[in-house]
Protein backbone atom coordinates (compact mmCIF):
# COMPACT_ATOMS: atom_id res chain seq x y z
CA UNK A 1 0.00 0.00 0.00
CA UNK A 2 2.80 2.41 0.92
CA UNK A 3 4.64 1.31 -2.19
CA UNK A 4 1.56 2.23 -4.24
CA UNK A 5 1.33 5.63 -2.59
CA UNK A 6 4.95 6.38 -3.41
CA UNK A 7 4.35 5.25 -6.97
CA UNK A 8 1.30 7.51 -7.30
CA UNK A 9 3.32 10.46 -6.00
CA UNK A 10 5.95 9.78 -8.67
CA UNK A 11 3.27 9.38 -11.35
CA UNK A 12 1.87 12.78 -10.43
CA UNK A 13 5.28 14.38 -10.68
CA UNK A 14 5.85 15.40 -14.36
CA UNK A 15 9.60 14.81 -14.09
CA UNK A 16 9.23 11.29 -12.73
CA UNK A 17 6.04 10.31 -14.51
CA UNK A 18 7.50 8.28 -17.38
CA UNK A 19 9.83 6.19 -15.23
CA UNK A 20 7.03 5.61 -12.71
CA UNK A 21 4.68 4.60 -15.48
CA UNK A 22 7.12 1.94 -16.69
CA UNK A 23 7.25 0.65 -13.10
CA UNK A 24 3.46 0.63 -12.94
CA UNK A 25 3.34 -1.48 -16.10
CA UNK A 26 5.73 -4.03 -14.58
CA UNK A 27 3.58 -4.30 -11.48
CA UNK A 28 0.05 -4.36 -12.87
CA UNK A 29 0.09 -5.14 -16.58
CA UNK A 30 -0.38 -8.88 -16.18
CA UNK A 31 -3.10 -8.66 -13.56
CA UNK A 32 -5.11 -6.21 -15.63
CA UNK A 33 -4.56 -8.26 -18.77
CA UNK A 34 -6.18 -11.35 -17.24
CA UNK A 35 -9.03 -9.36 -15.82
CA UNK A 36 -9.71 -7.90 -19.28
CA UNK A 37 -9.16 -11.21 -21.05
CA UNK A 38 -11.99 -12.91 -19.14
CA UNK A 39 -14.34 -10.12 -20.18
CA UNK A 40 -13.43 -9.75 -23.85
CA UNK A 41 -12.50 -13.45 -24.26
CA UNK A 42 -9.80 -13.42 -26.97
CA UNK A 43 -6.15 -12.44 -26.68
CA UNK A 44 -6.42 -9.99 -29.58
CA UNK A 45 -9.33 -8.14 -27.96
CA UNK A 46 -7.59 -8.15 -24.58
CA UNK A 47 -4.45 -6.68 -26.13
CA UNK A 48 -6.42 -3.76 -27.63
CA UNK A 49 -8.32 -3.07 -24.43
CA UNK A 50 -5.18 -3.34 -22.27
CA UNK A 51 -3.41 -0.69 -24.35
CA UNK A 52 -6.39 1.66 -24.16
CA UNK A 53 -6.63 1.05 -20.42
CA UNK A 54 -3.03 2.05 -19.76
CA UNK A 55 -3.24 5.08 -22.04
CA UNK A 56 -6.30 6.18 -20.06
CA UNK A 57 -4.49 5.54 -16.77
CA UNK A 58 -1.56 7.64 -17.97
CA UNK A 59 -3.85 10.49 -19.02
CA UNK A 60 -5.95 10.56 -15.87
CA UNK A 61 -3.49 9.71 -13.09
CA UNK A 62 -3.51 13.37 -11.97
CA UNK A 63 -7.25 13.04 -11.28
CA UNK A 64 -6.76 9.99 -9.03
CA UNK A 65 -7.77 11.20 -5.58
CA UNK A 66 -6.47 8.13 -3.71
CA UNK A 67 -9.81 7.45 -2.07
CA UNK A 68 -9.42 3.82 -3.14
CA UNK A 69 -6.28 1.76 -3.69
CA UNK A 70 -4.36 2.24 -6.92
CA UNK A 71 -5.10 -1.34 -7.90
CA UNK A 72 -8.89 -1.05 -7.55
CA UNK A 73 -8.86 2.30 -9.36
CA UNK A 74 -7.02 0.76 -12.32
CA UNK A 75 -9.17 -2.34 -12.15
CA UNK A 76 -12.25 -0.15 -12.52
CA UNK A 77 -10.74 1.64 -15.53
CA UNK A 78 -9.94 -1.72 -17.11
CA UNK A 79 -13.51 -2.90 -16.50
CA UNK A 80 -14.97 0.28 -18.03
CA UNK A 81 -12.70 0.02 -21.06
CA UNK A 82 -13.76 -3.62 -21.53
CA UNK A 83 -17.42 -2.66 -21.32
CA UNK A 84 -16.85 0.12 -23.86
CA UNK A 85 -15.26 -2.44 -26.19
CA UNK A 86 -18.13 -4.91 -25.68
CA UNK A 87 -20.75 -2.24 -26.36
CA UNK A 88 -19.02 -1.26 -29.60
CA UNK A 89 -18.55 -4.85 -30.76
CA UNK A 90 -21.69 -6.40 -32.24
CA UNK A 91 -20.37 -9.92 -31.67
CA UNK A 92 -20.94 -9.48 -27.96
CA UNK A 93 -24.61 -8.52 -28.26
CA UNK A 94 -27.13 -11.17 -27.22
CA UNK A 95 -30.68 -11.39 -25.87
CA UNK A 96 -30.55 -14.16 -23.27
CA UNK A 97 -28.21 -16.24 -21.12
CA UNK A 98 -28.31 -19.25 -23.47
CA UNK A 99 -27.22 -17.11 -26.42
CA UNK A 100 -24.59 -15.46 -24.26
CA UNK A 101 -23.04 -18.83 -23.34
CA UNK A 102 -23.14 -20.01 -26.96
CA UNK A 103 -21.65 -16.77 -28.12
CA UNK A 104 -18.94 -16.97 -25.47
CA UNK A 105 -17.88 -20.41 -26.71
CA UNK A 106 -17.95 -19.46 -30.33
CA UNK A 107 -15.63 -16.49 -29.70
CA UNK A 108 -13.45 -18.55 -27.36
CA UNK A 109 -12.93 -21.35 -29.86
CA UNK A 110 -11.99 -18.94 -32.63
CA UNK A 111 -9.16 -17.64 -30.46
CA UNK A 112 -5.81 -19.13 -31.42
CA UNK A 113 -4.67 -18.70 -27.82
CA UNK A 114 -7.36 -20.95 -26.38
CA UNK A 115 -6.38 -24.56 -25.79
CA UNK A 116 -9.14 -25.74 -23.49
CA UNK A 117 -10.08 -29.40 -23.10
CA UNK A 118 -13.41 -30.87 -22.03
CA UNK A 119 -13.12 -30.03 -18.35
CA UNK A 120 -11.99 -26.48 -19.02
CA UNK A 121 -14.91 -25.95 -21.38
CA UNK A 122 -17.14 -27.33 -18.63
CA UNK A 123 -15.77 -24.79 -16.16
CA UNK A 124 -16.40 -21.98 -18.65
CA UNK A 125 -19.97 -23.19 -19.03
CA UNK A 126 -20.54 -23.34 -15.25
CA UNK A 127 -19.14 -19.84 -14.72
CA UNK A 128 -21.25 -18.47 -17.57
CA UNK A 129 -24.31 -19.94 -15.86
CA UNK A 130 -23.72 -17.90 -12.68
CA UNK A 131 -25.53 -14.68 -12.02
CA UNK A 132 -23.51 -11.64 -13.06
CA UNK A 133 -22.65 -10.75 -9.47
CA UNK A 134 -21.62 -14.28 -8.53
CA UNK A 135 -19.50 -14.57 -11.67
CA UNK A 136 -17.71 -11.32 -10.90
CA UNK A 137 -17.05 -12.29 -7.29
CA UNK A 138 -15.73 -15.72 -8.23
CA UNK A 139 -13.48 -14.45 -11.00
CA UNK A 140 -12.12 -11.54 -8.99
CA UNK A 141 -11.36 -13.71 -6.00
CA UNK A 142 -10.19 -16.89 -7.61
CA UNK A 143 -8.52 -15.83 -10.84
CA UNK A 144 -7.58 -12.18 -10.21
CA UNK A 145 -6.39 -12.72 -6.63
CA UNK A 146 -8.25 -9.70 -5.25
CA UNK A 147 -8.95 -9.59 -1.53
CA UNK A 148 -12.55 -9.50 -0.29
CA UNK A 149 -11.90 -5.94 0.86
CA UNK A 150 -10.90 -4.87 -2.64
CA UNK A 151 -13.88 -6.66 -4.19
CA UNK A 152 -16.18 -5.00 -1.66
CA UNK A 153 -14.75 -1.61 -2.67
CA UNK A 154 -15.29 -2.37 -6.35
CA UNK A 155 -18.77 -3.84 -6.16
CA UNK A 156 -20.11 -1.86 -3.20
CA UNK A 157 -21.18 -5.02 -1.43
CA UNK A 158 -20.37 -6.01 2.16
CA UNK A 159 -17.49 -8.43 2.67
CA UNK A 160 -19.69 -11.01 4.42
CA UNK A 161 -22.11 -11.10 1.45
CA UNK A 162 -19.17 -11.51 -0.89
CA UNK A 163 -17.73 -14.37 1.13
CA UNK A 164 -20.97 -16.33 1.16
CA UNK A 165 -21.46 -15.68 -2.56
CA UNK A 166 -17.92 -16.87 -3.33
CA UNK A 167 -18.10 -20.06 -1.27
CA UNK A 168 -21.49 -20.88 -2.79
CA UNK A 169 -19.93 -20.51 -6.25
CA UNK A 170 -17.00 -22.78 -5.31
CA UNK A 171 -19.41 -25.43 -4.02
CA UNK A 172 -21.43 -25.31 -7.26
CA UNK A 173 -18.27 -25.71 -9.34
CA UNK A 174 -16.93 -28.61 -7.29
CA UNK A 175 -20.25 -30.36 -7.49
CA UNK A 176 -20.85 -29.82 -11.20
CA UNK A 177 -17.32 -30.52 -12.31
CA UNK A 178 -17.46 -34.03 -10.81
CA UNK A 179 -20.86 -34.85 -12.32
Amino acid sequence: MKKDQALVAKLKNPKLKDAAFAELLDLYQERLYWHIRKLVITHENADDVLQNTFVRIYRSIEKFQEKSSLHTWMYRIAYNESMRFIEKNKRFQFDNLEDATLNHFQILQEDSYYSGDEIQAKLHRIIQGFTEKQRKVFQMKYFDDLSFREISELLNVSESTLKSSYYAAVKIIEKKILE
Binding site: D26, D117, I119, I173
Partner: protein, 171 residues
Protein backbone atom coordinates in the same frame (compact mmCIF):
# COMPACT_ATOMS: atom_id res chain seq x y z
CA UNK B 1 -14.03 -35.59 -25.69
CA UNK B 2 -12.57 -38.80 -24.30
CA UNK B 3 -9.49 -37.01 -22.98
CA UNK B 4 -9.09 -37.55 -19.21
CA UNK B 5 -8.72 -34.26 -17.36
CA UNK B 6 -5.35 -34.32 -15.64
CA UNK B 7 -6.33 -31.62 -13.11
CA UNK B 8 -9.63 -33.09 -12.00
CA UNK B 9 -8.50 -34.02 -8.53
CA UNK B 10 -6.97 -30.68 -7.60
CA UNK B 11 -9.56 -28.36 -9.03
CA UNK B 12 -9.87 -25.01 -7.24
CA UNK B 13 -7.48 -26.03 -4.49
CA UNK B 14 -5.48 -22.86 -5.03
CA UNK B 15 -2.18 -24.61 -5.69
CA UNK B 16 -1.39 -22.46 -8.71
CA UNK B 17 0.61 -19.42 -7.74
CA UNK B 18 0.87 -17.50 -10.98
CA UNK B 19 -2.23 -15.88 -12.43
CA UNK B 20 -1.16 -16.94 -15.92
CA UNK B 21 -0.82 -20.57 -14.77
CA UNK B 22 -4.31 -20.51 -13.25
CA UNK B 23 -5.85 -19.16 -16.43
CA UNK B 24 -4.04 -21.71 -18.55
CA UNK B 25 -4.74 -24.65 -16.27
CA UNK B 26 -8.40 -23.99 -15.49
CA UNK B 27 -9.65 -21.86 -18.38
CA UNK B 28 -7.38 -22.97 -21.23
CA UNK B 29 -6.41 -19.36 -21.92
CA UNK B 30 -2.89 -18.69 -23.15
CA UNK B 31 -0.95 -15.80 -24.60
CA UNK B 32 2.07 -15.37 -26.90
CA UNK B 33 5.46 -15.85 -25.31
CA UNK B 34 7.13 -12.59 -24.28
CA UNK B 35 3.80 -10.85 -24.69
CA UNK B 36 4.07 -8.54 -21.67
CA UNK B 37 7.52 -7.24 -22.61
CA UNK B 38 6.32 -6.41 -26.13
CA UNK B 39 3.06 -4.97 -24.88
CA UNK B 40 4.93 -2.76 -22.38
CA UNK B 41 7.05 -1.27 -25.18
CA UNK B 42 4.00 -0.71 -27.33
CA UNK B 43 2.12 1.05 -24.51
CA UNK B 44 5.12 3.25 -23.68
CA UNK B 45 5.37 4.11 -27.37
CA UNK B 46 1.69 5.10 -27.48
CA UNK B 47 2.07 7.23 -24.40
CA UNK B 48 5.10 9.02 -25.88
CA UNK B 49 3.10 9.78 -29.04
CA UNK B 50 0.37 11.17 -26.77
CA UNK B 51 2.91 13.53 -25.22
CA UNK B 52 3.93 14.84 -28.64
CA UNK B 53 0.32 15.24 -29.70
CA UNK B 54 -1.71 16.04 -26.58
CA UNK B 55 -5.27 14.71 -26.72
CA UNK B 56 -7.87 17.09 -28.09
CA UNK B 57 -9.93 18.55 -25.33
CA UNK B 58 -13.45 17.24 -25.39
CA UNK B 59 -15.97 19.89 -26.30
CA UNK B 60 -18.06 20.55 -23.27
CA UNK B 61 -21.69 21.28 -23.93
CA UNK B 62 -23.04 23.44 -21.17
CA UNK B 63 -26.76 23.49 -20.67
CA UNK B 64 -28.49 26.52 -19.13
CA UNK B 65 -30.79 25.85 -16.25
CA UNK B 66 -34.50 26.42 -16.82
CA UNK B 67 -34.64 29.66 -14.80
CA UNK B 68 -31.82 31.16 -16.84
CA UNK B 69 -33.50 30.02 -20.08
CA UNK B 70 -36.68 31.94 -19.12
CA UNK B 71 -34.66 35.02 -18.26
CA UNK B 72 -32.82 34.95 -21.59
CA UNK B 73 -36.08 34.40 -23.51
CA UNK B 74 -37.76 37.30 -21.64
CA UNK B 75 -34.78 39.56 -22.38
CA UNK B 76 -34.91 38.68 -26.09
CA UNK B 77 -38.66 39.47 -26.23
CA UNK B 78 -38.12 42.73 -24.34
CA UNK B 79 -35.31 43.78 -26.70
CA UNK B 80 -37.48 42.95 -29.69
CA UNK B 81 -40.38 45.12 -28.46
CA UNK B 82 -38.01 47.87 -27.38
CA UNK B 83 -36.50 47.96 -30.88
CA UNK B 84 -39.97 48.03 -32.42
CA UNK B 85 -40.99 50.91 -30.16
CA UNK B 86 -37.74 52.75 -30.87
CA UNK B 87 -38.28 52.31 -34.59
CA UNK B 88 -41.80 53.77 -34.38
CA UNK B 89 -40.56 56.57 -32.14
CA UNK B 90 -37.85 57.50 -34.66
CA UNK B 91 -40.41 57.30 -37.47
CA UNK B 92 -42.62 59.82 -35.65
CA UNK B 93 -39.67 62.11 -35.06
CA UNK B 94 -39.00 62.14 -38.79
CA UNK B 95 -42.64 63.03 -39.53
CA UNK B 96 -42.49 65.82 -36.94
CA UNK B 97 -39.37 67.23 -38.48
CA UNK B 98 -41.07 67.15 -41.89
CA UNK B 99 -43.94 69.12 -40.37
CA UNK B 100 -41.46 71.58 -38.98
CA UNK B 101 -40.00 72.02 -42.41
CA UNK B 102 -43.38 72.26 -44.11
CA UNK B 103 -45.02 74.62 -41.61
CA UNK B 104 -42.07 76.87 -41.33
CA UNK B 105 -41.58 79.69 -43.77
CA UNK B 106 -37.86 79.61 -43.50
CA UNK B 107 -37.00 76.12 -44.66
CA UNK B 108 -33.34 76.83 -45.13
CA UNK B 109 -32.76 77.98 -41.55
CA UNK B 110 -34.74 75.05 -40.08
CA UNK B 111 -32.90 72.59 -42.27
CA UNK B 112 -29.68 73.61 -40.52
CA UNK B 113 -31.10 72.27 -37.25
CA UNK B 114 -31.94 68.85 -38.70
CA UNK B 115 -29.92 65.85 -39.84
CA UNK B 116 -28.93 65.67 -43.52
CA UNK B 117 -30.86 62.41 -43.96
CA UNK B 118 -34.05 64.02 -42.73
CA UNK B 119 -33.66 67.01 -45.04
CA UNK B 120 -33.01 64.62 -47.95
CA UNK B 121 -36.14 62.66 -47.05
CA UNK B 122 -38.17 65.85 -46.91
CA UNK B 123 -36.94 67.14 -50.27
CA UNK B 124 -37.67 63.78 -51.91
CA UNK B 125 -41.18 63.76 -50.51
CA UNK B 126 -41.69 67.37 -51.55
CA UNK B 127 -40.49 66.60 -55.06
CA UNK B 128 -42.97 63.76 -55.37
CA UNK B 129 -45.93 65.60 -53.79
CA UNK B 130 -45.52 69.06 -55.14
CA UNK B 131 -43.98 68.64 -58.52
CA UNK B 132 -44.64 65.20 -59.92
CA UNK B 133 -48.18 64.70 -58.59
CA UNK B 134 -49.26 68.28 -59.33
CA UNK B 135 -47.84 68.07 -62.84
CA UNK B 136 -49.71 64.82 -63.32
CA UNK B 137 -52.97 66.39 -62.10
CA UNK B 138 -52.70 69.45 -64.30
CA UNK B 139 -51.97 67.25 -67.30
CA UNK B 140 -55.06 65.20 -66.47
CA UNK B 141 -57.11 68.40 -66.21
CA UNK B 142 -55.95 69.49 -69.64
CA UNK B 143 -56.86 66.09 -71.08
CA UNK B 144 -60.33 66.30 -69.52
CA UNK B 145 -60.81 69.77 -70.88
CA UNK B 146 -59.82 68.63 -74.37
CA UNK B 147 -62.09 65.56 -74.19
CA UNK B 148 -65.05 67.59 -72.93
CA UNK B 149 -64.59 70.10 -75.66
CA UNK B 150 -65.16 67.39 -78.23
CA UNK B 151 -68.59 66.58 -76.82
CA UNK B 152 -69.78 70.06 -75.84
CA UNK B 153 -71.15 72.43 -78.45
CA UNK B 154 -69.02 75.30 -79.65
CA UNK B 155 -71.36 78.05 -78.29
CA UNK B 156 -71.27 76.52 -74.81
CA UNK B 157 -67.54 76.11 -75.02
CA UNK B 158 -67.16 79.72 -76.03
CA UNK B 159 -69.26 80.74 -73.02
CA UNK B 160 -67.14 78.59 -70.76
CA UNK B 161 -63.86 80.00 -72.09
CA UNK B 162 -65.26 83.53 -71.88
CA UNK B 163 -66.29 82.97 -68.27
CA UNK B 164 -62.89 81.53 -67.47
CA UNK B 165 -61.25 84.37 -69.32
CA UNK B 166 -63.31 86.98 -67.39
CA UNK B 167 -62.64 85.17 -64.06
CA UNK B 168 -58.94 85.02 -64.71
CA UNK B 169 -58.66 88.65 -65.74
CA UNK B 170 -61.03 90.22 -63.22
CA UNK B 171 -60.30 88.06 -60.19
Amino acid sequence: MGKAPKHNDKFLRGDKNSIAEKHKEYLGMEMPSDYFAKSKLSILDKVRTEQVEPPKKETKVRYMNVRLQYMVAASVVFLLFFNLWLFNFNGNTTDDSYDLLMTSENVLINSLLLEDDEVDGYTNELLINEIVIKAELSEQKLDNFFMNSLFVEDSLLDNYTDDKFIETIIL
